[in-house]
């Protein structure tokens, strides 16, 4: 295969232009015409639509085959177990034309990596050669976070760069300085973020440099697994490269170039049409909040990071007359010394993987979505950070949180237009455990436990309840693996449960789904063991700000660490252990379970040290509900109780359903008593509520007096009101004078 010195030699018309120029040209074409590559007419498609379909199908088959074959090489639990591996084929400009199964959001971030390479002059030095292997995991360069590593090879044909074949997956440990695994709850600066590399050349002649393997072994806790993952990504990319060469031979270079571009424009039009024919345009306003707590945690080492925040993610989602979806995040929190600095790759990845599931929903997924949707934030905010020193290790979390709201909007918009079957609240949620330590014989280890990532609930529809363990965050092939396999790689974490907790759902006409939960008993951790968790939503808030049509918003996740417990003594006495945090609290309250100290968090928990006999309980977020709880059918309530997913107390308290439960678990609804109970609940609303005007006047007085419930809330307003649109909204709503300052 020889390594001819070649950069981009020819454009479509044959003249010599560089990558940067080509990207700029494509952007300009889109700007001028509203069509990708300015393709007003899809000539290749029109000429022979079936040949075109065949070509596209074969590209998809090629990326799928690359992934399906290579994934078993993996060492990463996320790669195989959760399917957190993606292979994709991109044009020289970075536009992705075909993607495999896996975490499809990466389709959105790969183009940024190519743009970054063009902008930083890597085309000139070291240049792109046939047989080169490239890699990166740097969020500043377009990747979503350090855990997601890209390996990609240029595809040359006749000396011309015609495409990129890429593989990406989430690795087990990034070598984060504080949080093993690399799903950090705290990370003040990017210098703590772990092994960050590239985009750089990591091999040639399709063989990786030995030093790169050495880097993995040296700079991460799970070197072996990471090397295997590197091999996995590369194996697929090389396979894909081969298949693309075959396709070019078969269809001809000209056809390949023209058809790949037309594919992008055709799929863009499909999205445009979907919006135009199935959604209601307009402006939708929602927001998210997330406390981040670092105060007291980082102070000695990083005084600048010794703070708590309520992060504000503010969104106005507009479905425009052109079908373009504009997500404006004006008013979001300012960048700072925390993990939440949302660099663009992370934002778009998060936004992409949800949005695809609602807007594209087909194996034809590609970068065209990027041309139909944009996320904007004021420079300097977490949606658009300008600093390079603050941490970059979890911008994807900001992105995935942000994308919860557009997906509320899309589901709702389908409902408004009458496409109820398509309508659901797509709320991918996740929680990841990072753990690591040194075993008793001195063996160091680290792991990212993805047990929950693969099992997001599916939110409710206007016609059905939410469902647990349905969706693998952004991966159409959800999978949360087997407890026995997880224990095999993180032995001190003895599994006590993987289950559903009764009542742990948001209530509504169609209730949200119940979040999956898990419990671990720490056994024989060896010399030391640390753990932290990370996921969508923080502590002390709900997962998002609004439920839909009168339903309650998404419940937050939950993490409970119990230190110095009498767990093993209880077992010796023939008692059992709690399997979830509800049971744990019950046993603590009854005095049976003795606890030296405890820590309670939402999804994000700082690094904590764990000992033999400690207990860890987790609950995944539970999706938002749809509609007014008092509209819920009694039959649905009855069936929930029979399945052990709801208690009769909650049925009574929230839904006004009076249900009798027989000894064998069978249920009967008392219709008369229930009608009475519902009436009581309605009457209680009447007595407790006040007219909005009255409420407004009362709250306005507090706002004017700067009487906020908590200093973090005041700080949030103080920080974010500097942004123009949000400032206007806030000031107009409360009718504040311009000299008002918090």
């Amino acid at each position: 295969m020889g390594s001819k010195q070649t950069t981009l030699r020819k454009s479509l018309k044959g003249e010599n232009i560089g990558l940067k120029a080509r990207i700029d040209h494509a952007d300009q074409q889109y700007k001028d015409t509203g069509h990708i590559f300015g393709l007003k007419y899809l000539e290749v498609l029109e000429e022979d639509p079936i040949k075109f379909d065949k070509f596209q199908t074969r590209l998809i088959a090629a990326v799928s085959a690359a992934r399906e074959t290579s994934k078993h090489v993996s060492g990463s639990p996320a790669g195989v177990g959760m399917g957190e591996l993606l292979h994709l084929l991109a044009l020289p400009e970075g536009e992705v034309v075909a993607s495999s199964f896996g975490l499809t959001g990466h389709v959105m971030s790969f183009p940024l990596i190519v743009r970054h390479m063009a902008e930083t002059g890597l085309e000139e030095n070291p240049g792109f050669r046939d047989g080169d292997i490239w890699g990166t995991n740097d969020p500043l360069a377009g990747g979503p976070h350090q855990s997601d590593c890209y390996t990609y090879v240029p595809i040359f044909y006749d000396g011309e760069l015609i495409a990129w074949a890429a593989g990406v997956n989430h690795i087990a440990d990034t070598g984060h300085s504080i949080c093993p695994g690399g799903v950090p709850a705290h990370s003040p600066t990017t210098y703590c973020d772990g092994f960050t590399y590239g985009p750089m050349k990591i091999g040639e002649d399709l063989i990786e440099y030995k030093w790169f393997e050495r880097m993995w072994m040296r700079r991460t806790r799970t070197g072996t697994l990471n090397v295997l993952d590197e091999k996995m990504r590369l194996t697929g990319a090389i396979m894909l490269r081969g298949r693309v060469m075959e396709l070019v031979n078969e269809f001809g270079l000209e056809y390949f170039k023209r058809a790949t571009r037309e594919i992008l424009e055709r799929e863009r039009r499909a999205i445009e049409r979907r919006v135009r024919t199935q959604m209601v345009p307009g402006e939708f306003r929602q927001s998210l909040f997330r406390p981040i707590r670092q105060k007291g945690m980082m102070g000695h080492l990083y005084r600048e990071a010794d703070k708590d925040w309520i992060v504000h993610m503010n969104e106005t989602i507009t479905i425009e007359p052109s079908s373009f979806i504009n997500i404006d995040c004006d008013g979001s929190t300012t960048q700072d010394y925390f993990w939440a600095n949302g660099h663009r790759g992370g934002i778009l990845l998060g936004m992409g993987w949800h949005t695809m599931a609602v807007l594209v929903q087909s194996p034809l997924v590609n970068t065209s979505l990027l041309r139909m949707l944009d996320v904007k934030g004021p420079p300097g905010s977490i949606i658009n950070p300008t600093r390079t020193d603050v941490s970059t290790c979890a911008p994807n979390v900001v992105g995935t949180m942000l994308s919860l709201l557009p997906n509320h909007v899309f589901g709702w918009s389908y409902f408004m237009r009458g496409f109820l079957e398509e309508s659901y609240l797509c709320e991918y949620v996740y929680s990841v455990i990072g753990s690591g330590g040194v075993l008793k014989n001195g063996i160091p280890w680290g792991m990212t436990d993805f047990g929950y990532v693969g099992s997001s609930p599916r939110g409710p529809s206007p016609w059905r309840d939410g469902e647990a363990a349905m969706v693998g965050s952004g991966n159409p092939e959800a999978d949360f693996g087997e407890a026995e396999e997880w224990e095999f790689v993180e032995p001190p974490l003895t599994s006590l449960s993987r289950k559903l907790i009764p009542d742990m759902c948001s209530h509504g006409k169609h209730r949200g789904s119940i979040g999956t939960s898990a419990a671990h008993l720490i056994s024989d951790p060896g010399q030391f063991l640390t753990m932290n968790t990370m996921g969508i939503s923080g502590t002390d808030m709900l997962g998002c700000s609004v439920g839909v049509c009168g339903g309650y918003p998404m419940l937050n996740g939950y993490v409970l660490y119990l230190h110095d417990t009498n767990a093993f003594e209880l077992l010796e006495q023939g008692e059992t252990l709690p399997t979830d945090f509800v049971e744990a609290w019950r046993m603590i309250d009854s005095g049976k379970l003795k606890v030296g100290s405890m820590e309670v968090y939402g999804n994000e928990s700082p690094v904590t040290q764990l000992k033999h006999g400690d207990l860890v309980f987790q609950g995944l977020q539970a999706s938002s509900a749809w509609g007014e709880p008092l509209d819920r059918e009694f039959d649905l309530i009855k069936s929930d109780i029979e399945r052990g997913w709801m208690t009769p107390e909650t049925a009574r308290k929230v839904y006004g359903a009076v249900v009798e439960v027989a000894a064998n678990g069978a249920c009967k609804v008392d219709a008369d008593a229930s009608a009475k109970a519902r009436l009581e609940l309605r009457n209680r609303r009447k007595t407790r509520a006040v007219p909005a005007k009255e409420f407004w006047a009362r709250e306005r007085a507090k706002v004017v007096a700067k009487d906020f419930s908590h200093v973090d809330v005041a700080n949030m307003y103080q920080d974010t009101l500097r942004y123009e649109k949000w400032h206007r909204e806030f000031y107009e709503f409360w009718q504040l004078s311009e000299d008002y300052k918090i």
Partner: protein, 725 residues
């Protein structure tokens, strides 16, 4: 034809969704085929009907056959139907505390068995109907360690008891299950594959309680039937055994009773998912959940052995789906975690992949995007718009382009309307695309065939094989029909079909070996840093496991009437590099012992051989060491096999009577006048040149210009290019 008393018969049946096929063969290799509409309510009826039909072809009755049959093997859709209809036993289940929701969470695998387009449509993901009521799951406090991949001494050894079992949980729980009226109880504890002590003790307690209550309730232990890592899949496996197997066994028993009443003297046998057959009294009947193509894969194996074909690709093409599997170096590939009826199971099954849509698939056009969409709906027995279905289908194209005669469908029993097909294809397909109707039809086939070619290529490439080293056999009702299209874009080593293509699965079942398969999880980390002594020591459990499995095999086969001297063993391992997770690769080894360091080396080498057959050398990682994750054992006993006789070759030209007439068919943009031949009258040695159409009551074999077919001495019909030998 055949006299009544002096022949021994082998009877094999494959009951499919629509038809029950019989392959009946005598000791000289003469065979006949039978068909009968599958009767879900009472399979004894379709069994007898199908055997009767096959006997009738020989001028005999089913009684004549049964009284002279050595073996009757029946396989079908009993298990599948029980799972789909939910008509199984009321099961109780003892699980480790905290695991009661596992069967409902299903590891989130809510997309199993769905076509790719539907996997992307998350609203279509749903949990599979559970096999058990949540109220009948009992949680028992206990925990055992399953071990880990770190060097020995890092943490608990596999099997270490972390939490002793609370026996009272078992006692109370079983009482409750009996109160609830369960008919069978399964036990599946975490990591019981590493140490079955808790499951065994729980079973003892359960037996006491059951006895005390005067009940007769069967117990199924996961450590008995499937001692393999992965609790969710293992639990599902136990549930299948509890929920479906006893019901299936009693239904198989009624089939056996009817055969015995008809003169059959032996036990009825059934096909197991990994390709063996066993008596229907077999304790792990869950292994008899057989997916459609398994029988065909075995048929492929017979043909491969007979013709000396090393690598064979078996393609089962039917009305609802196309499936493919491979035989590499004479070995069938196995799937260690198969999906069945929406459940992921922990068992070994002959591996097949779904490679495409069946011929009944509906065709849609999105006029704005100019996109052709195949499926997802399927006409099934309603064929297409040419018969009784409101949508245009791939079958309509077969009729429109002249490949399928409107007068020869199911031997002429069903008349198809070609004019209507062409009219609707024009309106719904050609016009929206702005194309000529026949060109559009040919285009859709192009699209479909290129998809099949890609799948075939991927199936081979993902196993590290070059298609040129493969021969392909096409069977199923649509196998011969689409051979020409698949062949066009593939560079295969050869391609054939057989006149009994439509009953190929039953043929395969007849040829299955009588064997059982046993497997056990273990953890042996062979790290490069270890001394030879240490390596040997670490591998000792493998030998011990093989001995245990051998004893189990002897015991079970003895109960099925085979003495020890009749049993031979085959050994193997499943392994990965240390650090790889979740996937292991299976490799046969020459012998089941670990006495010397050479034995250890042999085991590692066999893994390397398997691994490098699949992956490029760049993905090898021997520096990490090897992790043996399980050992397996195949225990084989002799069974009579159908003989395929070599017939004397006749001339190149078929007999005159074989020619049925002429018809036009569309290839390469124009119509070709084709001779129409009767496949049943083709003789070994005959050659038919394209363009031609060769018809059989159950299928049609189109031969385009530039291709010809040739029947060999075993009646295999080879599909060839003109310039080829």
């Amino acid at each position: 034809m055949t006299t009544k008393d002096n022949k021994k018969y082998l009877v094999a049946l494959d009951a499919g969704g629509t038809m029950t096929d019989t392959f009946l063969v005598d000791e000289e290799g003469n065979f006949s085929l039978g068909k009968y509409l599958t009767n879900y309510g009472n399979e004894a009826i379709s069994y007898m009907g199908s055997v009767g039909d096959a006997a009738h072809q020989l001028g005999l009755t089913s009684g004549d056959i049964h009284s002279n049959a050595d073996t009757s093997i029946y396989t079908g859709t009993i298990m599948l139907n029980i799972l789909i209809t939910g008509d199984g036993k009321k099961a109780g289940l003892l699980v480790t505390r905290g695991q009661a929701d596992t069967p409902f969470l299903e590891r989130a695998l809510t997309w199993l068995g769905r076509p790719p387009a539907e996997k992307w449509k998350l609203q279509l993901h749903e949990h599979t109907r559970p096999m058990i009521d949540r109220l009948n799951i009992v949680e028992v406090t206990e925990r055992i360690s399953g071990g880990n991949y770190f060097p020995r001494g890092s943490h608990y050894d596999a099997g270490h008891v972390i939490i002793p079992m609370h026996e009272e949980d078992v006692r109370k729980g079983v009482e409750r299950l009996i109160d609830n009226g369960v008919e069978v109880i399964g036990i599946c504890f975490l990591c019981s594959y590493a140490n079955p002590a808790h499951e065994k003790r729980a079973a003892e307690i359960a037996r006491e309680v059951i006895k005390k209550r005067g009940k007769n309730i069967n117990l199924i232990l996961s450590s008995d039937i499937c001692p393999m890592i992965k609790e969710s899949a293992r639990m599902k496996t136990v549930l299948v055994e509890c929920f479906a197997c006893e019901g299936a066994r009693s239904r198989l028993k009624t089939v056996e009773d009817s055969a015995k009443a008809d003169g059959y003297k032996f036990d009825l046998q059934t096909l197991l998912a990994f390709g063996g057959v066993a008596n229907i009294r077999y304790p792990r009947l869950y292994e008899s959940i057989v997916s459609g193509p398994t029988g065909g894969m075995l048929g492929g194996k017979v043909m491969a052995d007979l013709k000396g074909i090393k690598n064979l690709l078996c393609a089962d093409l039917g009305g609802t789906s196309f499936e493919a599997g491979v035989i590499v170096g004479g070995q069938q590939s196995l799937n260690r975690e198969p999906n069945f009826a929406g459940h992921r199971l922990n068992m070994t099954m002959l591996a097949t992949d779904s490679i495409g849509n069946g011929t009944g698939t509906a065709i849609h056009v999105d006029p704005e995007a100019k996109r052709v969409i195949l499926g997802p709906e399927c006409a099934g027995s309603r064929v297409g718009i040419c018969f009784d279905y409101p949508e245009i289908t791939l079958s309509d194209i077969n009729v429109a382009l002249g490949y399928l005669s409107p007068d020869n469908f199911l031997g002429g029993k069903v008349k198809l309307n070609r004019e209507k097909a062409i009219h609707e294809l024009t309106e719904r397909l050609a016009k929206p695309l702005g194309m000529d109707v026949f060109e559009a039809c040919a285009g859709v086939f192009e699209l479909m065939h290129s998809g099949l070619q890609d799948h075939v290529n991927d199936t081979l490439l993902s196993r590290g094989m070059d298609p040129g080293e493969f021969t392909m056999v096409c069977y199923g009702g649509s196998g011969p029909l689409h051979m020409w299209g698949i062949e066009k874009g593939l560079k295969l080593g050869g391609m054939f079909t057989v006149p009994w293509a439509a009953a190929f699965s039953a043929f395969g079942i007849a040829a299955a070996e009588y064997y059982h398969r046993y497997e056990k999880s273990l953890t042996c980390s062979i790290l490069p840093s270890l001394s030879n002594e240490e390596k040997l020591d670490i591998c000792k459990p493998m030998a011990a496991a093989w001995r245990v499995l051998e004893e189990q095999a002897y015991k079970e086969l003895e109960q099925e009437g085979f003495s020890r001297d009749k049993v031979t063993f085959r050994y193997g391992i499943a392994a990965r590099y240390v650090g790889q997770l979740f996937s292991s690769w299976e490799a046969p080894v020459e012998f089941g012992k670990v006495d010397t360091i050479d034995d250890v080396q042999m085991i590692c080498d066999s893994f390397e051989k398997t691994y490098t057959r699949i992956y490029p050398t760049a993905s090898r990682f021997p520096e990490a060491g090897y992790l043996i994750t399980s050992v397996y054992l195949e225990a084989v006993v002799p069974k009579i096999q159908p003989k395929l006789i070599a017939h004397p070759l006749k001339g190149l030209a078929p007999v005159k009577e074989a020619k049925k007439g002429e018809r036009e068919a569309y290839w390469d943009g124009r119509w070709h006048k084709c001779d129409v031949w009767n496949m049943e009258l083709m003789q070994p040695g005959n050659r038919i040149d394209g363009p031609a159409l060769i018809e059989h009551p159950m299928t049609t074999l189109p031969v385009p210009p530039g291709r010809y077919v040739e029947m060999d001495e075993h009646m295999a019909i080879w599909f060839k290019r003109e310039n080829e030998e």
